[in-house]
Amino acid sequence: MSLGSLPPVTTDPASARPGAPDQPVPSLPRTAGRTAERRGDRAFRGLSLSAGLSLLGIILAIAVFLVVKAIPALQDNTASFLTDRVWDPNNAQPAFGIVALAFGTVLSSVLALLMALPVALGVALFISHVAPRRLAGVLGYVIDLLAAVPSVVYGLWGIFFLNDKVVVASAFLHEHAGWFPLFGGDDIFGRSIFLASIVLAIMILPIIASLSREVFLQVPVSQQEAALALGATRWEMIRTAVLPFGKPGVIGATMLGLGRALGETIAVAIVLSPAFVVSLDILSTNSGNTIAANVALGFAEASSTGRGALIASGLVLFAITLVVNVIARAIIYRRREFAGAL
């Protein structure tokens, strides 16, 4: 059908046909029109290239400006930014450390991932291999709608609807499985890290599900049919043909979901009762805080140094999500066939 990728356009007709008769090409209106063409091409090419470079510039500028605006606050900091569990940057003696926030961020995101991943894989398999073909597209679209709900609405729903239910479940878990390290602690009155991670799980589920679904749909039919022809049940076919093929894509999708959970702000800011502690008691009220939520919650009353401190914490968040995203993309890029789908 197509002739493969286009060679760069050569505007010189003589070089295009080496075997052509050796007579001069009839001179077309070449001078004026031709140079204008070339100029137009060069200008457009330059324009699109500079757009591409400006995108790289934006990413660089994000890092540079966050660093520049974080440095004064970090210099005024009387505590150790990397190791102290305190957040009091608006004080005359500003003291703030990232540990508690970073811990809460990672803890809530990892919990969210643990809850979302199995369900998301189930959803992906349901749509790619179990649901009737004619319904699969619509059902996939319905799951994608989960991603269309704004995070502030999830926050609202989380605090006014879900919180009560999670308190009941938390009390149940605490009573019957309190020996488990995560389910200890007191003050089980809601607005806990547990609630935040459930909300996060709901928000990252459609991301992991839709990317995994795309990967599962790309598994070669021949391999699946071969497994079925050998007498495999559907699950055995999925286990032997679909999952091994899709593994890198699923890992990449999981990392992208993790990146999303790490940076989610407003839903967490609404549902969480913030505390600057390093604690594994996820069921307790005041069981932690996250970097992003802390920025949203502390921004309005932040002093100049306070804003700098928030920017510094944002820099840490930027670095963490950048690493997670680069790893995710690298995993996906290694399998070229996925790169198009994701």
Binding site: S48, L56, A120, I143, P150, V152, V153, T265, R307, N325
Partner: protein, 355 residues
């Protein structure tokens, strides 16, 4: 013992019926479900178990256990595992569906109480949290202006980047740009807000404004538009480009008048999805536009509100009147975003380019 016996079919040739593995019929499974429901009801009547959610959980677990056990006896181990996994897969789909339905229903229920004329035509100017009435007109104006400006900035830039990657880009630079477009999609929205805060507001000294919010939204929209436009441009058949170039049309005109129009429906879909995505962003708008209670007509003059920001700030109040305004704004926002999503899907349908 005779030589002919080898050619004769053996007497023990299995009947076709025996070759088929026994399998559970739908009727049998339905019967099993009824039995499980009865048993669960009995359990809930006798013990101190209670609650609708608890009933569903217990009944489901019992059913899965019973199905696996029966299937193991009748159909064998492999088939029973297959059934177990299939049930789990269907269950996970239903689990994923539950929050979506719950969010939509709850928002509709809470939001309809204030879904009135005042809400869309009034602002919160001199309306306290406890006062009834008041509306989100200022927030709607803000959202439209901020998202509109962000679209105006990110669409041309994003299209150019996509054109560079697909039409001109060769070698390492194009690959690098492509990679960082993907990385940029993962930048948290709060970081985009902090960036504009430190660059535009603290660095260059401009105040909070709707335009600053638009800048932050641009950072978020840009990679989404590039990725979708890139996919669509790649789908345009090379034959079209070659035909145009063979007619002597310069490359840039080929791109603008042949390639882009062919890819247009897909590109429009991508733009609409990007708009729908940033329309719900709260955190970057909070850091850059800050929010206000009055209608601010100009996005360049002072703090502005937006619908998601309105929701966030009204929901922070302990007063029921403010909270029900927040719910109505949430309902409005969800409706707009769902409509955008649906329209985007309809536009895709009209596209002649298919993956």
């Amino acid at each position: 013992m005779t030589t002919t016996s080898a050619h004769r079919p053996p007497d023990v040739l299995p009947q076709a019926r025996d070759l088929q593995q026994p399998s559970l019929s739908r009727t049998a499974l339905a019967g099993l479900a009824v039995v499980v429901l009865l048993v669960t009801s009995g359990l809930f009547a006798v013990t101190d178990l209670a609650g609708r959610a608890g009933f569903v959980v217990v009944a489901t677990l019992l059913y899965v256990a019973a199905q696996t056990a029966v299937s193991r006896v009748v159909e064998g181990g492999r088939r029973s595992v297959d059934r177990l996994v299939t049930t789990a897969v269907i269950a996970s789909f239903l689990i994923a569906l539950a929050p979506l339905i719950s969010v939509l229903l709850y928002t509709a229920e809470q939001g309809l109480t204030r879904f009135d004329w005042d809400f869309f035509y009034r602002s919160l100017r001199s309306i306290g949290a406890r006062d009834p009435g008041g509306g989100a007109n200022h927030a709607i104006v803000g959202t439209l202006q901020q998202v509109g400006l962000a679209t105006l900035m990110s669409v041309p830039l994003g299209l150019l980047v996509a054109i560079y990657i697909v039409e001109y880009g060769r070698g390492r630079l194009a690959a690098t740009i492509r990679f960082f477009v993907d990385v940029m999609t993962g930048i948290p929205s709060i970081v985009a807000g902090l960036f504009v805060l430190s660059f535009w507001i603290l660095g260059l000294g401009f105040g909070y404004s709707g335009f600053a919010a638009a800048l932050a939204l641009t950072v978020l929209m840009l990679p989404v538009i590039v990725r979708s436009a890139e996919e669509m441009l790649k789908l345009v058949p090379n034959d079209l480009r070659e035909a145009s170039l063979a007619l002597g049309v310069p490359r840039w005109r080929t791109i603008l008048s042949i390639v882009l129009p062919t890819a247009l429906p897909g590109v429009v879909t991508g733009i609409m999805l990007a708009v729908a995505r940033v329309m719900g962003e709260t955190a970057p708008v909070l850091l850059t536009a800050f929010g206000t209670a009055s209608i601010v007509r100009s996005p360049f003059e002072g703090p502005q509100s937006s619908l998601p920001l309105f929701i966030y700030q009204e929901a922070a109040s302990p007063q029921g009147t403010a909270i029900s305004r927040a719910w109505t704004a949430a309902l409005t926002l969800i409706l707009v975003i769902m409509v955008l999503n649906l329209l985007a899907r309809l536009v895709t349908r009209r596209s002649t380019l298919k993956k």
